[in-house]
């Protein structure tokens, strides 16, 4: 008979694993044994809790006590005080889980309270390596329902009714995609899952696969049934070793249990699933490039039409959705399209997971109902900008998206709104920028990424983005000409208009949106040779302020002898010679030398 009265959930996501959750897990096992609690307390490794900034995270149930930044040294205390004696260790709790003396359970913390967890419902709740836990939370019920009670068209209709749109970027209606693939004729059909999450800073798909891999496996089987496919591929980047491992374990368990395999639920429906590892090229997130890669070729996009729904993997009709899209499917089947539509807005129903990053207090993964304003996400959930700095912009959609300003803070987050404002949903990156960020530099950062990640197939993307980057470098180096802005705009427009795939068609967005919203920064870089944010090194000067005490320490360290001045007098830097190495700044005993 089980005596387990308490569960210690340790985050086993990539973020917390890299900050040491494995040794925390081991230490807990050790301490619990020491206190003789091993029959009463169960330690569970779960998926991501979302608040990666606070990791490693440990949550103790039934209280829902939320410990953050847990160190191995803390574990003995938590075991003795909390698990043995029943006293929550307040000073180790996540700071927002403690208001005055009142301890808030994990679900009451502000960060989680405003979220709506559909996709991430099991993340941080179940042990992803135990299929029974998934089943305990209604796992594989949707698949059972679909194959035993619904026709293919009914399944597709339900998805259509739900209004679910692709969570991978463009927001194409998922149900329609399913319908196209159901209607397409082919000797065979395939279901594929795009788990090649490539946006810098985005990791929602990884978290789902690490925390709830069965939700994707189940959804793919449902999709297979709906469109008439008996084979599926999950294309996942090899850089996600934990996700790959969990997925492999989950798939093996699903096959063992017979929810994947032949004659599922004693029906005619059989479905097999295969994991394909990608080498982590950003472009392989583009559907046709992904298909090429699954087929064993270099991941380069092919022209559309034909669309994958008609000619996908091995030229057969193929349904391709991303991880987050699939993670919604079981919920829609179980709770109904109406329930799904009740979340979010009319045209963008449901929730969206964002990877919140940049200059924000609570970095991490958040799942919000669509229609929430940017302000709510950034301030209520994200906890605002750290160190009292001023908000400058928020970048959504990763390298394909754009920068929005304070003017847009009260705009609702929906697919169409973001596009209207010159950005996009993308896969869900959300990076907050403050006054210390230079917008030209931000544009350059994203472009640098796309230049590297362009597959090199089509001319505008391969050559054009490179040339745009050159122009941005020129501006950041203080060598910009005012015509360069027009050159950038012309290149941007043509690259968008004539590139082969979505990568190229959206690559200029960060540049266009920063030119649109922060043109003055470009102009001040070009005309005044100034970078207000103090980021572009070439535009900064090392100057000695009147705090100088004339100690001559700086003159001795300057490698190019560009500082002059007599003892006890204020020193001067010859700007023509200065190489901005910063040695003098470090040496100055009174912080009189600054870079501005």
């Amino acid at each position: 008979m089980s005596l387990v009265r308490s569960h210690v959930l340790i985050c086993g996501g990539t973020g917390c694993t890299s900050s040491g959750s494995i040794s925390i897990h081991e230490k807990f096992e050790e301490c619990i044994k020491k206190f003789g609690l091993d029959k009463e307390v169960k330690v569970v490794k779960t998926g991501c809790f979302g608040l990666c900034e606070a990791g490693p995270i440990v949550v103790v149930y039934p209280e829902g006590a939320f410990y953050s930044h847990v160190k191995v040294e803390d574990i003995e205390r938590i075991t003795e005080e909390h698990l043995y004696k029943g006293r929550i260790v307040k000073d180790l709790l996540f700071k927002q889980a403690l208001e005055g003396d009142v301890i808030k359970s994990v679900n009451e913390v502000q960060f989680y309270k405003k979220q709506k967890r559909v996709v991430l419902k099991n993340c941080g709740v179940i042990n992803p390596e135990v299929i029974e836990e998934y089943i305990a939370f209604d796992g594989y019920k949707a698949l059972g329902k679909v194959v035993t009670e619904m026709t293919q068209q009914e399944v597709v209709d339900e998805i259509k009714k739900s209004g679910l749109r692709g969570r991978g970027g463009g927001g194409f209606p998922t149900g329609l995609k399913w319908q196209f693939t159901l209607d397409a004729i082919g000797k065979e059909k395939y279901v594929a899952c795009n788990a090649d999450e490539g946006d810098p800073g985005a990791f929602m798909d990884r978290s789902v696969l690490e925390g709830d891999p069965h939700s994707v496996i189940e959804a793919m089987a449902i999709a297979g049934y709906a469109i008439g496919a008996s084979k599926g591929f999950i294309y996942i980047r090899a850089e996600y070793p934990i996700a790959v491992e969990r997925l492999e374990i989950a798939l093996a368990q699903a096959k063992e249990l017979g929810v994947i395999g032949d004659n599922i639920f004693s029906t005619d429906f059989s479905f097999d699933l295969e994991i394909r590892l990608g080498a982590g090229a950003f472009v392989c997130g583009e559907e046709t490039a992904l298909i090429e890669s699954i087929e064993g070729r270099r991941g380069m996009p092919r022209p559309r039409p034909p669309f994958p729904a008609n000619k996908g993997i091995f030229q057969m009709p193929t349904l391709l959705n991303n991880v987050e899209t699939y993670a919604n499917i079981t919920q829609i089947i179980l709770n109904g399209a109406e329930w799904f539509r009740s979340i979010g807005t009319e045209k963008s129903p449901g929730t969206k997971v964002f990877a919140l990053g940049g200059k924000i207090n609570n970095t991490g993964l958040v799942e919000i109902p669509m229609g929430m304003t940017l302000r709510e996400v950034i301030y209520d959930i994200g906890g605002g900008i750290p160190n009292g700095k001023a908000f400058k912009a928020v970048q959504t959609g990763g390298p394909s998206g754009g920068c929005l300003t304070y003017k847009h803070l009260d705009e609702q987050i929906t697919y169409d709104n973001l596009v209207r404002l010159g950005s996009m949903m993308g896969s869900g990156g959300m990076i907050v920028l403050d006054e210390d960020n230079c917008m030209v530099d931000v544009a350059r950062f994203f472009l640098d990424f796309t230049v590297d990640e362009s597959c090199g197939k089509c001319t505008p993307c391969r050559e054009g983005t490179k040339r745009m980057l050159e122009l941005l470098n020129k501006i950041c180096d203080g060598k910009g000409e005012i015509e360069d802005i027009a050159r950038l705009e012309n290149l941007a427009v043509n690259i968008k208009d004539s590139s082969l795939c979505g990568l190229g068609q959206t690559a200029p967005n960060p540049v266009l949106s920063t030119i649109k919203n922060f043109r003055h920064e470009y102009i001040s870089h070009i005309e005044d040779k100034k970078c207000e944010a103090g980021v572009c090194k070439a535009l900064l000067k090392v100057t000695i302020t009147d705090k100088c005490i004339g100690c001559t320490a700086c003159t001795k360290v300057c490698p190019v002898d560009c500082i002059s001045g007599s003892r006890k007098e204020m020193h001067v830097i010859d700007q023509n010679l200065c190489i901005k190495c910063g040695a003098c700044i470090e040496k100055c005993p009174v912080n009189a030398i600054i870079l501005k």
Binding site: A281, V283, R298, M300, R302, P303, P305, V451, D452, E453, S454, C455, G456, K457, C458, T459, P460, R462, E463, G464, T465, K466, R467, E470, L471, D484, R487, N490, L491, N494, K496, D497, S498, S499, L500, Q505
Partner: protein
Amino acid sequence: MKKIEISINGNKIEVPSNYTILEAARENGYRIPTLCHDDRLKPSGACRMCVVEVEGARSLVTSCSTPVRAGMVVKTNSDRVVNSRKTTLELLWADHNYDCLTCNKAGNCDLQDLCYEHDIDPLDGPYIKYSSNHVDKTNEFYIFDEDKCILCGKCVRACSELEGVGAITFSGRGHHTHISHPFEKEMLLSDCVSCGTCVSVCPTGALMEKTNAKFRNWDIDKKVKTTCTYCGVGCQLELVVHDNKVVRIDAPADSINKGITCVKGKFGYKFIDRDDRLKMPLIRKKGKLVESSWDEAYDLIASKMTSTLENYGPDSFAALSSARCTNEENYILQKLFRGVIKTNNVDHCARL
């Protein structure tokens, strides 16, 4: 095939419903420039030269890969299209070296022609020139010059789709993308069979035959279509002639070999003008073969034939005809021996 109506540049035309926009346009006299297109290859949509405006489409579409749709409204020459093509060309040109003056491809180069047509200013670009200085000369028959490559991918596709060899591939990403061979091996060490199909399809001077022949493409006297002299496939070749010399062999696409050649057909022509070709009849005199006139040779043969015929009869003759010679020559040789000498001792090496 069912016909459908579409409109190109305001004119309504009827085309088969399985056509691409490019096919529809070309068949009806609308020129759309291309660099990476080849009728024999699957459309790749890489170069973006063939973009056109289609009403209702968010961005420009490549005419080479987009099928026509009933009622489609296409513009092939709007400002938007022309501006896009020009930008594409500027970008390609910016990454191409400047040696048109001495390049053997000059006058036969698609990039050169299109830059000329679109008024690309060769020197006034705002961009930095890069050079890989990488030239692969390891193949016996041709060189690959990376700085002239526009990455249209025709060689890659031809090698795999037409030749089934797959010796050429793309390597690297982004601006570092380049044409290479699997595992970045040199051409000679790859699976390359030197068929030269890549050379035939290259639109620029990136893949060019190694040749000592000095000629400019505009000085070519003629191109003569003929049948290959090697194996029994009967590939159709075009002998490119300059100054009474075969200087190159092209392969016309509208033939049984579909423009494909093998190494012998494409490059095995240099025996034609070798110095050690036989130029005069030779007669053995005192054990040595010495030059003679035709008359002397003919007279000797005729007299020897007559005397042998008289002394030993027709069946003391034998003739070896040739699987290398033409039908006409085989016919006339057997006619000589059957009809004039009256022997059936005529054979050739059909069995070898």
